[in-house]
Amino acid sequence: MAKSIAQEFTKGLWEEIPPFRLVLGLCPVLAVTKTVENGIGMGLATTFVLVCSNILVSSLRKIIPGKVRIACFIIIIATFVTVVELVMQAFTYPLFLKLGIFIPLIVVNCIVLGRSEAFAFKNGIVRSLADGLGIGIGFTLALASLGAVRELFGNGTLTIWETPIQIFGPSFQPFTFMVEAPGAFVCLGLMLCLMNLVGSK
């Protein structure tokens, strides 16, 4: 193995940061990033599922038969998603309501399944943990930054936790386009363009 464990972790933060470098799992990225808070909440929920499923898949990789591995991955992931769903319902109910069906939909998030298939099934537990954590944090950062841009221009506020903070003064005219559906696509497209521009230099 050429890469150290630290490198497995940091690759999720820039080299392979989803959804910019790995264009996977776009649905929650576009749908929940109306505010920073939603983005962070979604990111952390996904990180938890990603880390736990990576650990379990990697520790069971010698037992799971190759032919039915996808079905096994899905059951493992679905179990952890149910855990997240119940925990969020109990402790962060307002956030749970805002994220809505996108929490159960972590099951079909291609990033989670993709990491199980491409990484955890072939690597050891510690390595898979680092990989899951890195990709998860990268995903959270991406969601939070997209959420920040959209909320800032669409509402003139930033919501880190529950109460929105006014950034622009009261005379700010909100650019509502950004928080609506079309704005999500355009904004993500432009951020991707910016990443390409910075990355190519």
Binding site: V23, L24, G25, L26, C27, P28, L30, A31, I70, A71, I74, I75, A78, T79, V81, T82, E85, L86, G100, I101, P104, L105, V107, V108, N109, C110, L113, E180, A181, P182, G183, A184, F185, V186, C187, L188, G189, L190, L192, C193, L194, N196, L197, S200
Partner: protein, 191 residues
């Protein structure tokens, strides 16, 4: 009857599953480079989504709710969808090989298409009755197909255009999707 037409219109145009609800965006970007693949994917989704919508509705109403096991919904739904896709694939291969050849590779991809799972969850969350769930599933699938095929048409044209280097590929596709989404956004005042 009028209610069902209204529900269908709202599911196809106003709450379009791809462009307004953001479900199923991975295949939306992944299979829209060519018209052929877009049509194949759209057909496969119509086929599977209607079946999945109906079956998950029945299971949820008669098994999960009756037994008080709603918290198992996520696991049950994904298993139903995954096995349904597998089953449909085997069935088509055996009995309708022509259709199988057409849908072929798109069928297994549908398991991780969140449009299918999402539509099933919406049906349950909105507490639709059986007919409403059927109409809604079908309309969501048609909306998915409509948006995907329209988008593929636009993307084929983009291939011929000269796009600035950093904007190429996914980036320009997302911006285009935004503009397409804007046109669907205009339907919002309709119902």
């Amino acid at each position: 009857m009028g209610d069902y037409v209204l529900l269908a219109i709202s599911c196809i145009l106003i709450n379009n599953i791809l462009l307004a609800q953001f479900l199923g965006n991975c295949p939306f970007l992944g299979t829209s480079k060519k018209m052929e693949t877009a049509v194949g994917m759209a057909m496969a989704v119509v086929f599977v989504l209607v079946m999945a919508g109906v079956i998950t509705w029945i299971l949820n109403t008669f098994v999960l709710v009756t037994l008080g096991l709603e918290y198992l919904r996520t696991i049950v739904f994904i298993l139903v969808i995954a096995s349904l896709v597998q089953f449909v694939e085997m069935f088509l291969k055996k009995s309708i090989p022509a259709l199988y050849a057409g849908l072929g590779i798109f069928l297994p991809l549908i398991t991780t298409n969140c449009a299918v799972m999402g539509a099933c969850l919406i049906n349950v969350n909105e507490e639709y009755n059986f007919m409403q769930a059927l109409v809604a599933s079908f309309s969501y699938a048609v909306g998915f197909g409509l948006a995907l095929i329209l988008f593929a048409g636009v993307r084929e044209k983009i291939l011929l255009a000269r796009v600035p280097k950093p904007l190429q590929d996914t980036s320009i596709a997302l911006v285009t999707a935004g503009i397409l989404s804007l046109t669907f956004f205009a339907f919002k005042g309709m119902v």
